[in-house]
Symmetry: C2
Subunit: 417 residues, 2 copies
């Protein structure tokens, strides 16, 4: 994106969904209503309201936090954080942490250090009692569930997918291994180019839409129906290719192995046991299947709680929720050479493992990442967790990484002092 | 319904949605999938799954419980309750309380006495961590919000509706008073005969549906749009006529007076302050308007908490949430003669006030009631609250009242001993 073009985009302040008045009033003015059937309900700037309100637009399934008392997070607010400076990737002028929030269209950010909240801010559509779409951060949760099952010996990472989900035998997934799915090294004919109206992602999106299908529609009517139609392209295991459908195939595997949907499994194993403040939820397709590739929504502090459990090797309040081996496998990272071929210019030296993004930096930091700037960043060496929800105008994280990744590293160094 | 017909209907056990396997499996078998677009998604027996899972089928808006710790309800379980006997209305053979649960297709029931849970059971689709459609119990919550505003001097019950919501000036509601709306004595041309495919309720339902409208649809596209089309029939104040649209008009009034939707107002004033265990939610139309006439869903214990606050004249844990006057007005009841004309054969001597059903029995009991057997029953003299969710095959409560109302009275007498 050129600077000339950037100049025309509304700033974070100008596009603040509260200031723009989306969906305010009884009823809202006609030009302030956002409907699921609007072609632009997820386009900037409307999208800045939508990310906090997915359940007002579409059906969802609950991820119960259980009924007990939330476990409050300790606070040790560090007033010096706003002034932390860093140099954006590819830039030369320094920027402060505080400036980065608006640059990234941040809706909410929580930083934990040594298990305590040191920083917390909300903007626009979000507050501490709200929930926000995690977008592809969802993938990392699904990957975590898969890695948990592998670590517990309930899922063989070398098994062929067809041996677990026979319905996928005739698809490209059939002869892929679980590990190839987990690492997204499957060879799939699938285009996720959102700019191409004929891209497979749109067929997938139509399949997963809970809305009634148009007259004469003959395509797949659910995520699982779509997955069965995916054809092979190339060889499995040859290259990393970031494709959402791998995660939904993994969601199917998790469901078949556990007898629970990813929503039920996430609630039973983690959300209801980590002292969460709020229920979370997934969007669902017309058969009630949670969108394992991108449909998770949650409160920001609860995302931070999850990050803290990962930082603490799977234990919260002395109780083990996640096998240490599952987290160790993720942190070990994936094939750097395979990742490098995928050409992420801003993520040199990174890798991908268990549906997490591994920085391979000297802190061993790793991330969950979702479009428009969703992030769960875990820095084991600095003992820092950063949970961020945002609504950057540009979907791809290459647009916000320059003012995010070096900010995270600078903040981690600052907190280690 | 004749006994011959009843004999053909599946029993509570036979129609148990868990046993029938609705929406179980990844994916569920084709004949076990329930879709919002199915014409029978809310018909028995599928309805027995749907009542616990409205949000999996349609868009919703959250009613936050806040982020603090729930206030646990004290328990003093009374094992003798199951054996309490009563004689069903119009019957001659005694029935036990326990038998009444299956007779009423009960999904969950909580009984509180002197502020403690003395009885709690779950069946079918519901458990303590689940949520269930309250159906027209929702109306009583909207009525309560209206009475709160009246008691606080923020809403003049003698004001004409058009003076508060000018958009309704041209409709039948325009020259009705707030009190007439609250008591459902408006004169409206509106048929709620669900058996008549041309009844107004279906036009209303189409207006409120969040689904895309069919090609060529020219009707109203939201609850509020529909309300503006309602024509007058007869005079306001002349007779009680139970019509859902009064409640949605009241929801609009509440929204206009408070600047909050009924979901926001309910959360801010009650749900986030009563120690609720779970968030509640409303279904919404395509403009995000909560269905004030029937769209509320909640956990059963939280419904019991609300009932207990009413029993305690608006106070919980020493904190006043509801003006005492608002509850006193409801308990005072409405015009018995006007109610009598409406011809409820099983509700002789009852009246209707503030969208609550007043038994006028010697305990001063009053109720919120919803189709298929939803109930919140408050007996001030016996200090008993009964919260029940159910999924009786027949919508109208006349089908379950015979085995419910005398059971409630018998239980209240039993607990007073």
């Amino acid at each position: 994106m050129s600077r000339a073009h950037e100049a025309k985009v509304l700033s974070a302040d100008e596009s603040d969904p509260v200031k723009l008045g989306w969906m305010v009033g009884a009823p809202p003015p006609a030009d302030k209503i956002i409907r699921f059937t609007d072609p632009d309900y997820f386009s900037f700037p409307k999208m800045r309201w939508t990310v906090c309100n997915f359940r007002q637009l579409m059906p969802t399934v609950n991820v119960s936090r259980g009924l007990g008392a939330p476990v409050p997070l300790e606070r040790a607010i560090d007033e010096s954080i706003d002034a932390v400076t860093f140099t954006p990737l590819g830039g030369d002028a320094e920027m402060t942490w505080e400036q980065s929030l608006a640059a990234n269209y941040t809706d909410g950010i929580v930083v934990m250090h040594d298990g305590k909240i040191v920083y917390e801010r909300y903007f626009g559509c979000l507050d501490e009692a709200g929930q926000h779409g995690a977008m592809s951060v969802t993938k990392s949760l699904t990957g975590l569930m898969g890695e948990m099952l592998v670590a517990e010996g309930k899922l063989d990472e070398n098994a062929k997918v067809a041996s677990i989900v026979p319905e996928l035998a005739g698809s490209a997934f059939g002869d892929a291994t679980v590990k190839q799915v987990l690492e997204m090294t499957t060879g799939l004919r699938y285009s996720e180019d959102y700019a191409d109206p004929n891209a497979d992602v749109w067929i997938y999106s139509a399949a997963g839409s809970p809305l009634p299908k148009p007259e004469g529609y003959t395509g797949p009517r659910s995520y699982f129906e779509y997955l069965q139609t995916v054809r092979k392209q190339g060889e499995h295991g040859a290259a990393f290719g970031y494709k959402t459908i791998n995660t939904d195939a993994l969601g199917w595997i998790v469901a078949r192995v556990t007898g629970q949907s990813v929503a039920e499994f996430m609630s039973e194993r983690i959300w209801s046991k980590m002292g969460a403040e709020q229920d979370a939820y997934y969007t669902v397709d017309s058969t009630g299947t949670p969108f394992a590739g991108g449909g998770f929504n949650a409160g920001l502090r609860d995302m931070a709680r999850l990050g803290q459990i990962l930082l603490d090797d799977g234990v919260v309040d002395g109780q083990r929720l996640i096998p240490e081996a599952a987290i160790a496998r993720i942190r070990a990272g994936g094939d750097k050479a395979a990742f490098d071929k995928a050409g992420y210019a801003l993520l040199k030296g990174w890798s991908y493992r268990g549906m997490w993004w591994i920085t391979n930096n000297d802190h061993g930091a790793y991330m969950a990442r979702g479009v428009h700037g969703q992030a769960l960043y875990i820095d084991p060496r600095a003992r820092v967790v950063i949970a961020r929800f945002s609504s950057h105008p540009t979907a791809g994280n290459a647009a916000n990484d320059p003012t995010s990744l070096p900010a995270y590293e600078a903040l981690a160094r600052h907190l280690m002092k």
